[in-house]
Structure formats: structure tokens, C-alpha cells
Amino acid sequence: MTPIVELIAPRLLPIASVVAIALIVKGYANVGEGFGAGVIVALAIGLRYVVLGPERADRTIPIVRAAPLVAVTGLLIALGSGFFGLLFGSPPFTHYPPPGEPVVRIGALELTTAVAFDVGIFLLVVGAVVMLIRQLSWLVAEDDS
């Protein structure tokens, strides 16, 4: 690995997270959505595994051990925001507030249940891809030794 990659890889995660958050926040008004954001975060973590190897990477970001939990949480959030309308007798993926109703805004972000769905996808993708990369990384390391 070149020194440049070794320098960048461990410092990429915060930047990637900011980009991902921006993609989700602006997603409804501009390019990007939860899936892409999820892959970008996973990419930053994946690069760290490639450069540092599984043991050191696991040590520097211990939260990756919770990747399966993150994935399942994401799936549940997505399911919940997609199907909670059934409780009120509306078809699945009826998002609230309905068309024409006022929406709470935080800057460019309009808070609708569709955003929750997007966040769910984001978490699922991050969790799933990190899980895969981590497994693969351990497998390769084991073959090496």
C-alpha cells in the first residue's frame, strides 16, 4: 500500500459520513438517496479493512461488530415506515403527511415518512455491505496466515 492510501484510508470515514448525510438530507430535492449514501459509508469502512487488515480495522472502529444489528434495524425501520399505514386502513407505502398537507422542514429536509424509509435503506445497506466486507477480510487474512 502506498503511504498516501495509508494516510487517507483511516481518515475517510468522517468525510464519507458527511457526504452520506448530505445525500439523505438533500435526497428528496436533489440527486441521491439512502442506497447510494449507504454504499459510500460502507466504502470508507471497506477501504480501512483493505489497508489496515481485519484486526486493526476492527480495533479502530469497534462499532462494526454491530453491523448485523444495524442491517436488521434498517430493515425494520423500512418495513415499519412502509407498512404502518395498514393500521389506519390505507394501502402499504402511503406516506404521511399526505399531498397538500403542510410539512415540518429542517432546512431543505422535509420530514415525511418517506425519509424514514430512506434512512432504513441507508442503515440496511451500510450494515449489509460492512458485514460482507468484514467477513471477506477475515477470510483472506486467515488464508494468508
Binding site: 438517496e33 460502507a42 412502509g82 407505502f93
Partner: protein
């Protein structure tokens, strides 16, 4: 089942058992309340666009089968609380396995009650298959034994496989009448070819479920199940599901007299085959299994006779048979438990050691053989009355059938209880005796006070026949035909019972003919062939990564090529204009083509992978130029992940692997085959994409509507809104697939390393 040596079982049955008993008791009480309250319905749209409804109606017909499922279920569950711990102990299995047994039993009971009440053909199919699935796990409960596994598979293949005919039949009827609702179809029913085909298809599934000839062969093997399973599924529930469905669609079946005559033939064939084979069986449960085939043959004959008499007879017959047969199955289990023996030739003389069981099972057998003062007497009375009303030849068949019943039941009971005295190995717990006594008591009560049973049967018969039916069984001390026929049947039965040698010879002959020519052989042949073909295809496909890919790409290419041959190509391959503004696009595409050529030609390891990445990035650039920034973004990040993973894995591969691998130039057959497969797949993909891009989209453009509606959905980016809102359900399914795929990959990788 032979020679099982029970040790002293643990005293406390599992909590799950008591929960199951409570569920059965609750179901019984609700059935009683529902029957008394009269018609009680649930009807909610299930999949409205497809016309499915979750429609249940608790009419008299449903009440009868629900009574059987819940009532006999309750008694069998009580029996099983004592039986199951001993069984698990004898099989050296942990007691915790009981949980599986109870959950499948309760699921079975629930789906049986659901089936009885369902009014929608699709819903009926779902419950029908649910019973098949739970029976698979119940028959195969002793999964360490290969005979149990084989029997479970056989039962599943025959009953669930034929259930496909039921689904087809439902679709055919829907095509004819425009609804899956059974009452609506029956109301509109007319004699048309489609109606006949539809209900015959459903009837085939029902006959297979009720183990009628020629589908009967699964039932005797299903006796590998634990005794409570046999007592429940193979007397009152699983096999009853078939005649239940026949009863439900009977108004449709009776439109065509040919169909009814075919039912009579199938029924008599089952009576004959089941009855004659039952005469020579040695295993207790085998005798009962063949007897069940034969007894449900009676019900099918009654359906074939039709009319109010046939409907009434069928309804009462099902009740009387289920009560007696489950008692006999439970007896077989108790006897085997007490003696460690399950064969008639090894048994006998138990009347002094097990007097209560002997009397109770004697009463149950007497009821099946239609002796007076039992409920069974009336079932034969109605059967004979319906038979002679139909035709004299049917009457003669009925008498012979009843004689056969008496003969094999007599052989069963005498073989177990008569003869020289024999001591027991173990005592039998009262929980295994009381259910038998209760069932026997029910038949006697039914034989004296037939009123409630007749009322239940009349209510059910009204459902079968389509209009109210009077069921008034009674004892008549005169020389009427039914009584004479009963006497005749007893005479035939006793003669068969006495003529041991003739009986055995005939039965063996039939058994041998069945083994030679029977459908069971065909089943084995079909299963073997399918297995072999599947194995061959599988081996060819998974030999290496290239054959796996070729297995997807080559058939796709061939199918696409076929599509091109048969569709008109006019205007399909449009080249279109090319301007100065397209130069960046062409540069990117040229880069992509170069990268693709490099990937195929380069013999290195890392370079082809990097070339593929270049190709991916070039395409992402194309998306960006063509105004699809969302797609470009996703393509870009995915391409990056793939590149990193590839590089990370390849960087660590041992260097020697390159030398072992044949070079990518691939001289020889394998290389040429790969090249052909690649060219075929590539050409077809090229043609498909070109053709797709040349055609304007058909139908109203969705895109315009989506763009118009996006502001209403509080969004600015159409693609995101489509993903999260307009097509949210699609996205949901896709990410679920992603989650499942990750679980699969993770478990495959984890097999080798545990981080």
C-alpha cells in the same frame, strides 16, 4: 415400530402439550357455540386486484368437520401427553423435541378448521396445502429414521403435488364464472365443459388427499408417524380433508352424472383394494391404514350416489368413522406400548390384562362394522338405503363392502385380544386409556341417542346437497331391505373371518399384483428419474464458475435469439442521428469497448479486473451525460466497492495460482466453448439493448405522471420519490432480497472462519 422397549418416562408432560390441549378445548367450545349460533361469517378482501377473499363461513358443513378436528384433536392431544414422552425416550431423543410436535399438531388443527370453513377456492387451496405441509413434518417427526423421512416425502409429494390440480381447477372455475367465491360459483353453476374440468381437477386433489385408489399408496407408509399423528391425521383430519373438499364442491360435481358415476367407481375400487389388503396385514397400524382407505371409499361412493340420501349418508359416515377409527389407532398405540409388539402374529390374549381397552376398542370396531347400539349402525343404514335407491348393483357392492369391513376388523380385534392369556411388559397410563374409552362411549351414546349426531349430519348434508336434508336414522325391527342387507353383510363378514386360508391367499395375490403393477412403483420410478436428471444438470452447472455463468447466459441468449426470430424487426434497429454534442458520449463508449476487450484478452490477474472497473466507470459517465445523475451515482459507488474488494482479495492470492491456471488464451475445447458462450451471450444482449432503445415505450408513459406527482409527494428528485414512494413496495422487496442474500453469503463464509 417393533420391539420398542420403553423405559420409565418422565412424569410431567411438557407445557406445550397442555397449551395444545387448551387450544383444542377452546376450538371445541367455539365450534359448539358457532354451530348453535347458526351461520357466522368472516369476509375480508385479501388480494382485491386478484379477486381473492379471506372468506370463512361457519355453516353446518364446516361445523361437522370442525367438531371432528377439535374434538378428536382434544382426545388425541390428551393421549399424546402420555405417549410422546415415552416415544421420545424410546427413540433416545431429548424431550425438548416435543415442542415441534405440538406446534405442528396445533397448526394442523387450525388449518383443518380453516379448510372446513373456507368459502374461497384460493383460501381453500392455502389451507389444504397447510395441512399437507404440517402433515409432512408430523409424519417425518422421527427424522432420524429414513423410513419416516421417506414416508413424509411420499405423503407430501402425493397430496401437495395433486393439490396443484386443485389450484388449476380453481383457476378454471374462476375463468368460467369470474369469481373464486364458492357460493357464488355454485349459485351460477351450469353444466359446461369448463365447469366439469374445473371440478374434476379439484376432485382429483381431494381423492389423493383421502388416499383413494390410485393415490392410496401414501397412506400405509405414513404409518411411520407416531401413533397420535396417525390417530389424528389418518382418521379424522388429513384424509377427511379430501372428502371435505368433495363435499364442498358437491353441487358442482352433481351437475354431470358421469362425474358422479366415476366417483362411485373410484370409491368401490378403494373399498375393494383397501379392504382386501387390510385382511392380510400383520402390523396393527397397517391394518388400520388400509381400513381407512376402504372406509373413505364408502364416503366417496356416497358422494357418487348423491341426492339427499347420499349427502346425509356421507355426513354421518364421516363422523362415525372418525370416532371409531381414531379409537382403534389409539388402541394400537396403547397395545404396542404395553407389549412392545406391533404385529398381529406376535399379539393376542390381552383381554384379561387390558379389559378396559379391549371393551372400548371392541365397541369402536363394532361401530365400524355396523352393529346395533352403536353410532356405526346408522351409518350403514343410511349407506344401504342410498345404495339401493341408486341401483341394485350398487346395493350388492355395498353389502360386500360392509362384509369386508367386518372381516378385517374382526381379525384385528380377535388378533389382539383373543387367544391364550399373555402378560404385559408395562402398564399403560390412564391418559392413554381414557381417550379410547371416551371415544367408545361416544359411539354407544350415538347408538342410543342418535338425535344430536343426526342433527349435525343433517346440517352438513344440507351444505353438500344444496338444500335442506332430513336425516332420521332409527332402529326398525322389521324385514325392510336395509336390515336384510345388514344381515347379509354380517354373514359375508363372518364367512370371510372363518375362511382363513382363502382370505389370506386372495389378499396376498392382490398385494403382489399391486406391488407389480401398482402406482407406487411408478412413483418410485418418477422420483428416481427426476432425481437423476436434477443431479446431472446440477453437476454440469456447478463444475466451475464458467459453467455456472454459462448456465445463465447461454439459455438467456438462446431464448432472446428465438424471440428475435419470431418477432417482426421492422423499425427495431434504428441507428439514429449523430451530432457534435455526442462526442463525449462516444469517447466514453470507446473507452468502455477498449476496457472490455482488454478484460477478455489480458492474461494477467489484476489487469482484467481493473479493465472491468474502467468499463464500469465509463458507463457511469455515460449515465451522467445522458441525464441520469442518480443512476450514475449508484453505478459509481458500486463500481468502487467492487474494485476495492477485487483488489483486496487478489492482492492476497498466492502467486502460484497463476501458474496452475490455464492461460486465458484457452487453447483447446474448453477455451472454444467459453468463447462461443461469451459471444452468444454478448450478441444477444447487444441485440436486445439495441432493439429496446430503438422502440418508443408502449402504453401511457409512467414517467410523465411520476414527474407531475412528485411535488405532491413533498419531493424534488423524481428518482428518489419513485424509489421511496411510488414504487416503495418494489424497493422494499428488493432490499429484503439484499438482506437475505447477505445472510446467505455470511453463513457460507462463516463456515470457514469465525471472526
Amino acid at each position: 415400530m417393533t420391539g420398542r422397549a420403553f423405559r420409565v418416562p418422565p412424569a410431567r408432560p411438557a407445557v406445550a402439550g397442555w397449551l395444545a390441549i387448551a387450544a383444542a378445548a377452546a376450538a371445541l367450545v367455539m365450534t359448539l357455540a358457532g354451530w348453535q349460533a347458526g351461520d357466522w361469517t368472516i369476509d375480508v378482501p385479501w388480494a382485491p386486484t386478484l379477486g381473492f377473499r379471506f372468506a370463512l363461513a361457519f355453516d353446518g358443513f364446516a361445523a361437522l368437520y370442525a367438531f371432528l378436528a377439535a374434538g378428536i384433536g382434544l382426545l388425541v392431544f390428551v393421549y399424546a401427553t402420555a405417549y410422546l414422552p415415552r416415544h421420545l425416550d424410546a427413540e433416545s431423543r431429548p424431550q425438548a423435541d416435543a415442542g415441534r410436535f405440538w406446534s405442528w399438531m396445533v397448526l394442523f388443527m387450525a388449518s383443518m378448521i380453516g379448510l372446513a370453513a373456507s368459502q374461497d377456492l384460493i383460501l381453500m387451496f392455502v389451507f389444504f396445502d397447510l395441512t399437507a405441509v404440517s402433515s409432512y413434518f408430523l409424519i417425518g417427526f422421527d427424522r432420524h429414521r429414513s423410513d419416516a423421512r421417506g414416508a413424509a416425502l411420499l405423503a407430501l409429494v402425493v397430496t401437495a403435488g395433486s393439490a396443484v390440480a386443485m389450484l388449476l381447477g380453481g383457476v378454471v372455475l374462476e375463468g368460467e364464472y369470474g369469481t373464486f367465491s364458492l357460493p357464488a360459483i355454485i349459485e351460477a353453476a351450469a353444466l359446461t365443459p369448463a365447469t366439469t374440468i374445473g371440478c374434476v381437477l379439484i376432485a382429483v386433489a381431494a381423492l389423493a388427499k383421502s388416499a383413494q385408489v390410485p393415490f392410496h399408496f401414501w397412506l400405509p407408509r405414513a404409518m411411520a408417524a407416531p401413533t397420535p399423528v396417525s390417530a389424528y391425521l389418518h382418521s379424522a383430519a388429513m384424509v377427511a380433508a379430501g372428502v371435505l373438499v368433495l363435499g364442498r364442491i358437491h353441487p358442482l360435481l352433481s351437475l354431470d352424472p358421469c362425474v358422479l358415476d366415476a366417483l362411485i367407481v373410484a370409491g368401490f375400487a378403494s373399498i375393494a383394494v383397501g379392504g382386501i389388503l387390510a385382511l392380510a396385514q400383520d402390523e396393527l397400524k397397517q391394518v388400520l391404514a388400509y381400513s381407512t382407505i376402504s372406509q373413505y371409499g364408502y364416503v366417496v361412493v356416497l358422494y357418487g350416489i348423491g341426492g339427499p340420501a347420499g349427502a346425509a349418508g356421507a355426513a354421518l359416515y364421516v363422523v362415525a368413522h372418525a370416532i371409531s377409527k381414531s379409537a382403534l389407532f389409539l388402541t394400537a398405540g396403547a397395545v404396542t406400548e404395553a407389549t412392545g409388539e406391533s404385529r398381529l402374529t406376535q399379539l393376542g390374549g390381552l383381554v384379561r390384562e387390558m379389559p378396559l381397552v379391549a371393551v372400548a376398542s371392541g365397541v369402536a370396531a363394532a361401530s365400524l362394522a355396523a352393529f346395533p347400539v352403536t353410532l356405526g349402525f346408522f351409518k350403514d343404514e343410511l349407506f344401504f338405503a342410498a345404495a339401493i335407491e341408486k341401483a341394485p348393483i350398487v346395493g350388492v357392492g355395498a353389502v360386500l363392502a360392509a362384509g369386508l369391513t367386518l372381516a378385517y376388523l374382526g381379525r384385528f380385534w380377535l388378533g389382539v385380544f383373543a387367544g391364550p392369556h399373555r402378560p404385559l411388559q408395562h402398564g399403560v397410563p390412564s391418559a392413554m386409556v381414557i381417550p379410547i374409552v371416551v371415544l367408545a362411549a361416544l359411539t354407544v351414546v350415538g347408538g342410543i341417542v342418535v338425535g344430536p349426531f343426526a342433527a349435525l349430519a343433517a346440517d352438513a348434508a344440507a351444505g353438500i346437497h344444496g338444500s335442506p336434508v332430513e336425516v332420521a336414522p332409527a332402529y326398525h325391527l322389521d324385514g325392510r331391505t336395509e336390515n336384510l342387507m345388514t344381515l347379509g353383510a354380517w354373514a359375508v363378514g363372518l364367512a370371510l373371518l372363518a375362511a382363513t386360508r382363502v382370505r389370506d391367499a386372495v389378499s396376498r395375490l392382490v398385494a403382489r399384483a399391486g406391488d407389480r403393477l401398482g402406482p407406487r412403483r411408478l412413483y418410485g420410478l418418477v422420483l428416481d428419474t427426476v432425481d437423476r436428471v436434477s443431479e446431472t444438470v446440477h453437476r454440469a452447472e456447478v463444475r466451475d464458475l464458467r459453467t455456472s455463468l454459462a448456465a445463465i447466459l447461454v439459455p438467456t441468449g438462446i431464448l432472446a435469439a428465438f424471440g428475435f426470430v419470431v418477432t417482426p424487426t421492422d423499425g427495431s434497429y434504428d441507428v439514429g442521428p449523430l451530432g457534435v454534442a455526442d462526442v463525449p458520449l462516444i469517447v466514453l463508449l470507446a473507452l468502455g469497448v477498449g476496457a472490455a476487450l482488454t478484460a477478455t484478452r489480458d492474461t494477467g490477474r489484476l489487469r482484467p479486473v481493473l479493465a472491468l472497473s474502467v468499463l464500469g466507470f465509463a458507463l457511469a459517465g455515460v449515465y451522467a451525460i445522458l441525464g441520469a445523475p442518480d443512476v450514475a451515482l449508484v453505478a459509481l459507488v458500486i463500481e468502487t466497492v467492487l474494485s476495492i474488494v477485487f483488489v483486496a482479495v487478489f492482492a492476497r492470492l498466492p502467486a502460484t495460482a497463476v501458474a496452475d491456471r490455464p492461460s486465458s488464451g484457452h487453447p483447446g475445447i474448453a477455451g472454444r466453448r467459453n468463447a462461443i458462450a461469451g459471444v452468444l451471450a454478448g450478441l444477444s444482449a447487444f441485440a436486445v439493448i439495441w432493439s429496446a432503445l430503438s422502440r418508443p415505450p408502449l402504453g401511457p408513459p409512467d414517467a410523465a405522471a411520476h414527474i407531475r406527482l412528485t411535488p405532491d409527494a413533498h419531493g424534488g428528485d423524481v428518482v428518489t420519490v419513485i424509489l421511496a414512494d411510488f414504487r416503495g413496495l418494489d424497493t422494499m422487496v428488493e432490499i429484503t432480497v439484499l438482506a437475505v442474500a447477505v445472510i446467505g453469503v455470511t453463513s457460507l463464509l462463516r463456515r470457514r472462519s469465525e471472526p
